[in-house]
Symmetry: C2
Subunit: 321 residues, 2 copies
């Protein structure tokens, strides 16, 4: 890419990102750095990456969906803290075959995610690479105390928003090249995740600890449990699933409960809260915080589940329990 082409592309991106509300932005995209006016409140910061061939294949989603997906995955970390998204910085590495139209669609997708969550892109970088990667830094703010991973207490309930394993099912359908009508809503869940920002905000005074489900419920809850110095018992029968979840899992020869336990990229919020808290309509109770370390899921008869990819946690629980 010559400097000319690069400058033209950057100018296109600048036009896309500088539309809309610029309140609180003293220097917008286009200088060496952006400048935000002083503001009250804590700053909440995170960064996430989407790498081609690792996190996605281009055939699996549109450029616009890709941009929105990358941004939503990053914004989900702010949701898990209870923060209000504020600004985004975008570092794009593009292979030479990415067209101007694809780049513009990708940027529009990032803007879609920002518009939906109240954020704005204030800075970015464009680099060449052998594959597409999207590195998204998100910054939110909050005056309240943030939701952390380390506040779970023995006796708390364990909860999750939405449904589990749907994105993993959609990804499995894409990997298998299946286009059954029944699978379409699951594919859509993988393609178009939503950061649970408003749910995170509502949890501020309710939850004792929270995390977003990006790497799978079992792994993410084990992180929360370890940070809190507690363990978690999950009731497999209580895991919230989409109505067609079991039928679709069968279509793809997958175990529905395993998908719900270790399937990643749902971007739901998993959290703990005292049982007395009113959480109706916000989340489903899926288990309890216990003193014994580790995360254990039991079936309807109370037997610990043998789940592929989940033994890591069972073992940890066993060795310490």
């Amino acid at each position: 890419m010559s400097a000319h082409v690069e400058e033209a592309r950057i100018a296109r991106l600048r036009r896309i990102f500088t539309q809309g509300d610029a309140q609180g932005i003293e220097v917008d995209v286009g200088d060496d750095a952006a400048v935000l006016a002083p503001s009250l409140g804590r700053e909440v910061l995170s960064v996430d990456a989407h790498v081609e061939h690792v996190h996605f294949r281009r055939a699996w989603l549109s450029s616009r969906e890709l941009g929105a997906r990358a941004a939503m995955a990053a914004l989900s970390d702010l949701a898990a803290m209870g923060a209000e998204p504020r600004v985004v910085l975008l570092s794009l590495a593009l292979s030479d075959d990415v067209t101007d139209e694809e780049l513009e669609a990708l940027a529009l997708g990032v803007r879609d995610a920002c518009d939906e969550t109240g954020a704005r892109v204030v800075g970015g970088n464009l680099a060449r690479a052998s594959e597409i990667s999207i590195h998204t830094t998100v910054i939110g703010r909050m005056t309240e105390a943030p939701l952390r991973r380390d506040g779970a207490k023995v006796g708390d309930g364990v909860y999750v928003t939405g449904t589990l394993g749907a994105a993993a099912l959609g990804l499995a359908a894409l990997e298998a090249g299946r286009s059954d009508t029944l699978l379409a809503p699951f594919v859509a869940r993988w393609r178009r995740p939503r950061a649970r920002v408003s749910e995170g905000r509502r949890l501020i005074d309710l939850a004792s600890a929270a995390i977003d489900v990006s790497d799978g419920l079992a792994l993410d809850l084990s992180r929360l449990a370890e940070a809190s110095g507690v363990g978690i018992d999950l009731d497999a029968k209580d895991l919230p699933l989409e109505p067609d979840h079991a039928a679709c899992a069968a279509l793809l020869s997958r175990d529905p409960i395993t998908l719900a336990l270790i399937g990643g990229e749902d971007y739901e919020l998993a959290f703990t809260a005292p049982l007395s808290r009113a959480l109706a309509g916000l989340a489903t109770r899926i288990g309890s915080v216990v003193a014994r370390p580790g995360v254990v899921a039991t079936d309807a008869s109370g037997r610990p589940l043998e789940v592929a990819g989940f033994d890591h946690f069972a073992r940890r629980a066993t060795s310490a329990g």
Copy 2:
């Protein structure tokens, strides 16, 4: 990389980045996001990327130098605004052949750059990719008005800190596989750039506009001139060069002035300031701000230089002048 390996690597990085002063950091690396305590002042934000095969080859520098270099390049954007670096978020994409030792050295290099500039890594992401890339988000703060690109006034002097073209000469030596003793300091300039943070701070009340020289003096000054709605005349004879610059350029069959004008990655600060300002010892005057758009460099006899890769700017000047 299995989740196990990934977690172990992340734990190593966390240990490296959580040493030292954590003042103002309410939630450090390790939760979904970092949280900074409320603070006075504006926030200054930028992101920069270092991609293998595009910005560097592994044979050209150590892992520790690579980490420091990537961070310094990003921090240079804060220097150009006159901001004090505060926090860094690091998104690393690594190919499978990067060893734990190389990763640790890279992280130590990032920490070196942070230690030198007063910043701290508060968040990061680790992803697999087919090549190494380092995406560094930097956030600084300042209570003063930031140095922008768009404040240059006709009649101002044009200045630059340090010397020009040294990093480009070092890069040329690396590309040519040359290891002449005379070239070593130039190679070191490419390998170990320094963000001009303290110089940027000193410029706050002196400069009318500023930019860091990352893509080459001519290109970066053309951006400053365009943003300010002015033009710039440069005196080639005044460009500050290292004592051995001409001799080393000859060794590599390069034109010394061209290297100084279009060689990138010096990370010096170029700025404009009223002629009355006391800038002794801080920078070298290299030209003047003029009304005619474009950047033109003239030789000792006043003739516009014909410089390969520079005609873009000359043409712009001609068509508008």
